[in-house]
C-alpha cells in the first residue's frame, strides 16, 4: 500500500486531490445510478405518461397513439360515465386475497422455525431441506402444484376423495377455489423464507432474558408472546416486507398455473397488465400502463412505510 502523496505537483491532480472526498462518492455512484436511472426510474415516469395514451403498441406512440388524458383511469374505475372494468375489479380483489392470505407465511414460518430450533443430530440438514422450496424457481413450483391439483388424477383430489369431498373442475378449474389454490402454492416457498428469517432471529434471542423469564415462571405460549416475539421484531419486519412484496408480485404462479382462468377468475393486477399489453390478444398498452400505475401506487404505500421505518433506524444510528 504505497502512498502517492508526493504527486500533488500536477495541477489537475492537485484540484482533484483537494476535492477528493467530495468527488469520489459521485464517481463511484455514477455507473450504478446511471444504470438504475435508465432502467428503473425513467421507465416509471414513462409508464405514467403512457397511461394517458390510447396506443396498441404497434409503430410509434407519437404517430399511432392518441392522447386521451385520464380516460384509461376512468375506464378502470368506472368514472365519468364509463363502465367500471369488471376484470380490473376481480384483479383488485384477488390481490387483496393474496395480500391477506400470504401473510399466513409469517406465522407459518415462525411455527416451523420453533419446531426446528433444536440441536439434535442432523438438524442442520433438516433446516436446509425445509428451506428447499424457496430455492426452486416459481415456474417449477407452479408446475408441481398444478399436477398436484389435477382434477380426478391429482393427488389433492384423491386426498379430498378420502373425505368424500370433491371440488368441481379440480382446484384450478373451479373459479371459487382456483385463486386459493395458487396462493397455497405460493405460500409454500414463502413460508420457507419466513422460516429461515425466524431461525436466524431465534439464534440471536438473548439467552439471559429467556432464563430470567423462566425463573419468573414464564413458559410456553406466554414466554413466546411476551419474551420471544418482541425480540424477533426485526425478523418479523423483514418477513412482513418480503411477503407483501411477494404477494403483489404474484405473476409467475398465475401465469403458469391458470393463465388467469378459468374465465378470468384468477387474474391479479400484475398478470392483468401483462395480459392487456404483451399477451396474444393484448394490444392496449396505454390501458395496461394505467393498471400498472395503480399497482405501483398500491405498492408505494408499503414502500413508503418501509422507507419511513428505515429512516427512523438511520436517525437512531446517527
Amino acid at each position: 500500500m504505497s502512498t502517492s502523496s508526493d504527486s500533488a505537483a500536477l495541477p489537475t491532480r492537485g484540484w482533484y486531490k483537494r476535492n477528493e472526498i467530495a468527488i469520489t462518492p459521485w464517481l463511484f455512484l455514477a455507473p450504478g445510478v446511471l444504470f438504475f436511472f435508465i432502467y428503473v426510474i425513467a421507465p416509471i415516469y414513462q409508464s405514467f405518461s403512457l397511461s394517458l395514451y390510447d396506443w396498441n403498441g404497434l409503430g410509434d406512440i407519437e404517430t399511432n397513439g392518441t392522447y386521451v388524458g385520464m380516460e384509461n383511469y376512468n375506464k378502470l374505475f368506472g368514472l365519468n360515465g364509463e363502465r367500471a372494468d369488471r376484470n380490473f375489479n376481480i384483479s383488485l380483489w384477488n390481490n387483496l386475497k393474496w395480500l391477506l392470505l400470504y401473510l399466513l407465511a409469517i406465522p407459518g414460518g415462525l411455527f416451523i422455525a420453533l419446531f426446528l430450533n433444536q440441536t439434535v443430530r442432523g438438524i442442520r440438514i433438516y433446516k436446509s431441506l425445509f428451506f428447499f422450496p424457496f430455492v426452486i424457481s416459481q415456474v417449477v413450483v407452479g408446475l408441481v402444484f398444478s399436477w398436484f391439483y389435477l382434477p380426478n388424477d391429482g393427488l389433492f383430489s384423491i386426498m379430498l376423495g378420502w373425505f368424500g369431498l370433491e371440488i368441481r373442475g379440480g382446484v384450478l378449474g373451479n373459479p371459487t377455489a382456483a385463486t386459493y389454490g395458487i396462493i397455497a402454492a405460493g405460500l409454500w416457498p414463502q413460508t420457507a423464507y419466513c422460516m429461515i428469517l425466524y431461525l436466524t432471529g431465534l439464534n440471536a434471542v438473548d439467552p439471559e432474558q429467556v432464563e430470567a423469564a423462566r425463573l419468573d415462571g414464564a413458559k410456553g405460549r406466554k414466554m413466546l408472546w411476551y419474551v420471544i416475539i418482541p425480540q424477533l421484531k426485526p425478523a418479523t419486519f423483514i418477513a412482513f416486507v418480503v411477503t407483501i412484496i411477494g404477494a403483489l408480485r404474484s405473476f409467475d404462479l398465475v401465469s403458469i398455473m391458470t393463465g388467469g382462468g378459468p374465465f378470468g377468475s384468477t387474474r391479479v393486477l400484475s398478470f392483468y397488465v401483462f395480459e392487456k399489453s404483451l399477451s396474444e390478444r393484448g394490444l392496449q398498452y396505454g390501458y395496461a400502463a394505467a393498471i400498472a400505475v395503480v399497482l405501483f401506487l398500491i405498492m408505494l404505500v408499503f414502500i413508503s412505510y418501509f422507507l419511513w421505518s428505515m429512516y427512523q433506524d438511520e436517525k437512531e444510528a446517527r
Binding site: N56, G170, G173, F263, Q284
Partner: protein, 419 residues
C-alpha cells in the same frame, strides 16, 4: 437436421417437380432472405424447411436464414420484431387478425403480386387477405372445421352421421345413455369454445348474421344470439361435453376421444394427425359437416387461412416477393398440403388435393356445401379485444350456463366500447 433434409429432399423428388419449378423461377436473386416462421410443430416445421430448401436450390446466390419460433410465443413476439428487427418474410393469419398490423403500416402492400393470374388461382382466399381493396399477404394453407367422430363407437350403438339438430341430439342422448360423452373439448385456452359458438351461431342465424355480429353490427343481447345460446345450453344440460374441460388444452382433450370416453370432437383438420398418431385408424375415425339447425339457412363454414407477409421494414423485398409467389404456386401448394406434409387444403385452385379422406371431404364441403360463406374463425373475425372478452364468456357459459344473462350483458357492453 439431417433427417429433415432427407425427408424434404425425398418429398421433392417424389413430387417430380424438379424441372418445372426451376424453370418457373429462373431469375437470379442474391443477398440475404430472412424468414421468421411460426410453423414450429414437427410436420409444419419440416414443410417450412423443405420450402426453404427448394427455394434456395432455385436461387443459389440467395442466402436464406430461417428462424422458427414457437407457435404460441410467435403470436406475441411478432409485434416486437416487426418494428425492431423486421425479417423479409413472416407468417401470420388472415382477416381481422392482420388488421392492426396493416393499420400500423407494418405489413407491405403486395397487391402487385396478386395482379392477373394469381387473383384467379387464389380467388377463394383473396377476400381474407384484402383490406380496403389492397392485399397485404398471401395464403399458404387453409383447413376445414367440422365434427371428427369415432365411427366404431357410432356403429356399436347403431348411430349414423346426423344431418339435423334433432338427429344430433338423439345421437348424443344414446351415447350418454351408454356412458359415453358426446364431445370432448379443452377450453383452457378459450378458442375451442369459439369454434362451438361459430358453428352454433352460423347454423342458428346464418353466416350473414354471424359476420355482422363479429363485425360489431349486431347486439349480443338480441333474440338471435339468445337462440344460439339456447341451442348450446341444450347440449350442456344433457351433459354432452366432458367434465372439467376448462382445465384442459385442446391437446389434453384428445385422449378422451382416443380412449373412447368421448365420441366426437368439433375441431380443425389439424386434429387428425395427432388422433392417427395416437393409434386411431381411418376405419375408426370419420368426419361430418356440422348439422343443420334452423332449416333452410345456407350453411357457412369456418376455414382459417394461414398466411405469409412481407414486413414494411424488410430489406430484401424483391426476394421476399419471389418467395411469396413460390409459396402460392400450384406445384408447391400441391406438395406442401399433401397428407404426408401439412395434410391440409391447398389455396391454389390449380393444385390437386391429396387423396386423403378427410381432405377430400373437407375440400368438397368447402367448395360445394358451404353456400352461406366461409368464415375465418371467431378470434380472427372479431377484433382481438372483443375475441378475448367473448371467448372468456363462452368458457364461463359452458361451465355455468346459469350466468348467461350476465355474460351477454358483459359482451354487449364490450361491443359498445370496442367498435
Amino acid at each position: 437436421m439431417h433427417s429433415i433434409l432427407k425427408t424434404s429432399l425425398a418429398a421433392f423428388v417424389a413430387a417430380g417437380l424438379a424441372t418445372s419449378a426451376t424453370q418457373t423461377y429462373a431469375q437470379s436473386l442474391s443477398g440475404d432472405l430472412v424468414i421468421f416462421s411460426d410453423m414450429s410443430n414437427p410436420a409444419p416445421r419440416a414443410v417450412m424447411e423443405g420450402m426453404v430448401e427448394r427455394f434456395g436450390a432455385m436461387h443459389p446466390d440467395l442466402n436464406i436464414e430461417l428462424t422458427v419460433i414457437d407457435r404460441e410465443a410467435y403470436k406475441t413476439q411478432i409485434r416486437n420484431f416487426l418494428t425492431a428487427n423486421a425479417p423479409d418474410v413472416a407468417n401470420w393469419y388472415a382477416a381481422n387478425r392482420m388488421l392492426p398490423y396493416v393499420e400500423a403500416g407494418l405489413f407491405e402492400d403486395v397487391s402487385d403480386i396478386w395482379e392477373g393470374q394469381m387473383s384467379e388461382e387464389l380467388a377463394s382466399t383473396k377476400g381474407a387477405l384484402t383490406i380496403d381493396g389492397a392485399q397485404y399477404g398471401v395464403p399458404y394453407t387453409y383447413y376445414q372445421w367440422g365434427v371428427y367422430y369415432r365411427k366404431d363407437i357410432f356403429d356399436q350403438y347403431g348411430l349414423s352421421e346426423p344431418t339435423t339438430w334433432a338427429e344430433e341430439l338423439a345421437n348424443c342422448q344414446t351415447l350418454l345413455d351408454n356412458g359415453v360423452k358426446c364431445y370432448t373439448i379443452g377450453t383452457k385456452f378459450l378458442w375451442t369454445a369459439g369454434g362451438w359458438f361459430d358453428y352454433l351461431n352460423m347454423r342458428t342465424n346464418g353466416y350473414d348474421f354471424h359476420a355482422r355480429l363479429t363485425n360489431g353490427e349486431e347486439s349480443w343481447t338480441s333474440d338471435e344470439v339468445r337462440a344460439t345460446f339456447a341451442n348450446w345450453q341444450q347440449l350442456i344440460d344433457m351433459g354432452a361435453f366432458i367434465d372439467d374441460h376448462q382445465t384442459y388444452s385442446w391437446q389434453e382433450a384428445l385422449p378422451f376421444m382416443v380412449n373412447g370416453e368421448a365420441a366426437s370432437y368439433l375441431m380443425g383438420n389439424f386434429a387428425v394427425a395427432p388422433l392417427r398418431e395416437a393409434g386411431l385408424t381411418d376405419d375408426q375415425l370419420d368426419f361430418y359437416q356440422f348439422v343443420e339447425i334452423t332449416p333452410g339457412i345456407p350453411k357457412g363454414e369456418d376455414a382459417p387461412t394461414d398466411t405469409f407477409h412481407i414486413p414494411s421494414g424488410a430489406t430484401n423485398k424483391e426476394a421476399a416477393r419471389e418467395f411469396l409467389k413460390f409459396v402460392v404456386s400450384a406445384e408447391n401448394q400441391t406438395l406442401i398440403n399433401n397428407g404426408s406434409n401439412l395434410g391440409q387444403l391447398p389455396v391454389n385452385a390449380m393444385s390437386s388435393v391429396d387423396d386423403d379422406k378427410f381432405l377430400n371431404e373437407g375440400f368438397d364441403m368447402l367448395s360445394n356445401k358451404a353456400p352461406g360463406g366461409i368464415a375465418q374463425f371467431f378470434d380472427r373475425d372479431a377484433p382481438a379485444e372483443m375475441a378475448a372478452v367473448a371467448m372468456e364468456g363462452f368458457q364461463e357459459f359452458m361451465v355455468f350456463p346459469a350466468n348467461l344473462e350476465d355474460i351477454l350483458e358483459r359482451l354487449e357492453a364490450a361491443r359498445e366500447d370496442i367498435y
